[in-house]
């Protein structure tokens, strides 16, 4: 079963268009959603969840059209945006209001997560570190038995240790297959560790959406001398010249046996960076 199935999702703003987004995420996996700032990550998430209205397209969550069963579908989603609401309220108060919306609220489970994450429900939101705030939001989501967690940039603003903890928590959450996680980030090293699938968006268009291994296999990082560059220039996605030669990105299928440049495995960062630069005009 697929937890998320998006078909031709389009949203038009005056200065930005989310253009025919398609993606599929099977149940029980983690998908990382990457792209530069302003590429359309948050717009995609908000449009997908009907927080802003879409122009056209279809969104299915757990095989149900979100437009036809919005309340039912949303009760199974835990959405964590970057913003914390009600910073002056205590966790206790927020939880009291929050749980009313969910029939599936599980008080025992909620208490066990509070203990596990060492969250003091008497504390106010603004007394918690960013990492603890996130754990609280994830606790809320898990306590109403959300089967799909959608997180918008959860790792930004976290130190490396807190980020690592969070990613480990993600993997613990999906260990038993009931939960699916979709999260956006621009810190690609987060994904090298735990993501099963990656969707890469650029200027409102999806460039790639596939398993992480397939994505990394589909590209090659090349480096070599200026002479090597001449031989393969028109096949590169983009390249950068430097004092000793060049670095570039190429699709694996475009590599020729006769290429002399050094061919290696790219990182997700390499793929993002070389896609964002225009051919040969790097400064």
């Amino acid at each position: 079963m697929n937890s998320i199935e998006i078909r031709n999702l389009t949203k038009v703003y005056r200065t930005f268009t989310l253009d025919n987004v398609n993606l599929t995420l099977p149940k029980g996996y983690i998908m990382g959603f990457i792209g530069e700032n302003g590429a359309g990550k948050t717009t995609t998430i908000k449009t997908m969840l009907n927080i802003v209205q879409k122009e056209s397209g279809q969104v299915k969550i757990f095989n149900q059209d979100i437009d036809k069963a919005e309340i039912e579908v949303k009760s199974k989603i835990g959405y964590v945006s970057g913003n914390m609401f009600y910073p002056k309220k205590s966790l206790k108060e927020i939880t009291k209001y929050f749980k009313r919306f969910y029939n599936e609220w599980d008080e025992d489970l909620y208490q066990s997560y509070l203990n596990r994450f060492k969250l003091d429900s008497n504390k106010r939101i603004d007394e918690l570190s960013k990492g603890m705030q996130l754990k609280y939001l994830i606790t809320l989501a898990l306590s109403h038995h959300a089967e799909l967690l959608v997180l918008d940039e959860p790792t930004s603003g976290l130190d490396p240790v807190a980020r690592d903890n969070l990613l480990e928590l993600f993997q613990t959450i999906i260990e038993h297959e009931e939960t699916t996680i979709f999260f956006s980030t621009h810190i690609t090293s987060d994904l090298e560790k735990c993501a099963d699938y990656i969707t890469f968006i650029k200027e409102g268009k999806i460039i790639e959406s596939c398993s992480k291994d397939d994505l990394l296999d589909a590209y090659r990082f090349v480096s070599g001398s200026d002479k090597d560059l001449e031989q393969m220039k028109d096949r590169l996605i983009s390249y950068k010249n430097h004092a000793f030669g060049f670095n570039g990105l190429i699709r694996t299928e475009d590599v020729k046996k006769t290429d002399l440049a050094k061919i290696g495995q790219p990182t997700l960062d390499d793929i993002m960076i070389f896609y964002s630069s225009h051919k040969g005009v790097m400064l």
Binding site: I174, H176, K193, D196, D213, G264
Partner: protein, 126 residues
């Protein structure tokens, strides 16, 4: 399962790194016949790699006849005779050299020179 090290910075794909280490542990008898491997999701969590990566590793181990899977229960180390293991070891070592030697060939070294280097390196690594 014994110690397994995954390097995100290595040129070798992660599934291959894990496969190589597990395969050698099976060959060396560190992992015993019929021993249960952790579930794919648990292994992914423990090694901090994606589930799909572990799936690929387990598939490869199964294709190479090193493990077997019982639906709904898990994957186990296959029973091996010593001769089987020796054959597999040779195959594995061949694979390692195949890659190395094809890249060495581009330096136009003679076979004799290469053997000499191998012998020196072999003695250096104890």
């Amino acid at each position: 399962m014994k110690h397994i090290v995954v390097r995100n910075t290595s040129q070798t794909p992660i599934y291959q790194q894990i496969y190589d280490q597990l395969a050698s542990q099976i060959m060396n008898g560190d992992l015993k016949s019929d021993q249960l491997l952790p579930s794919i999701r648990t292994a992914a969590k423990e090694l901090r790699v994606s589930i799909i990566t572990i799936k690929k590793t387990w598939e490869l181990l199964e294709n190479q006849g090193l493990i077997y899977t019982i639906q709904g229960k898990g994957s186990y180390i296959k029973r091996h005779t010593q001769i089987d293991l020796d054959d597999k070891k040779i195959e594995l070592v061949k694979d390692v050299f195949l890659e190395a030697i094809s890249s060495v060939k581009s330096y136009n070294l003679s076979k004799e020179k290469l053997m000499e280097i191998i012998s020196v390196v072999y003695d250096e690594v104890n």
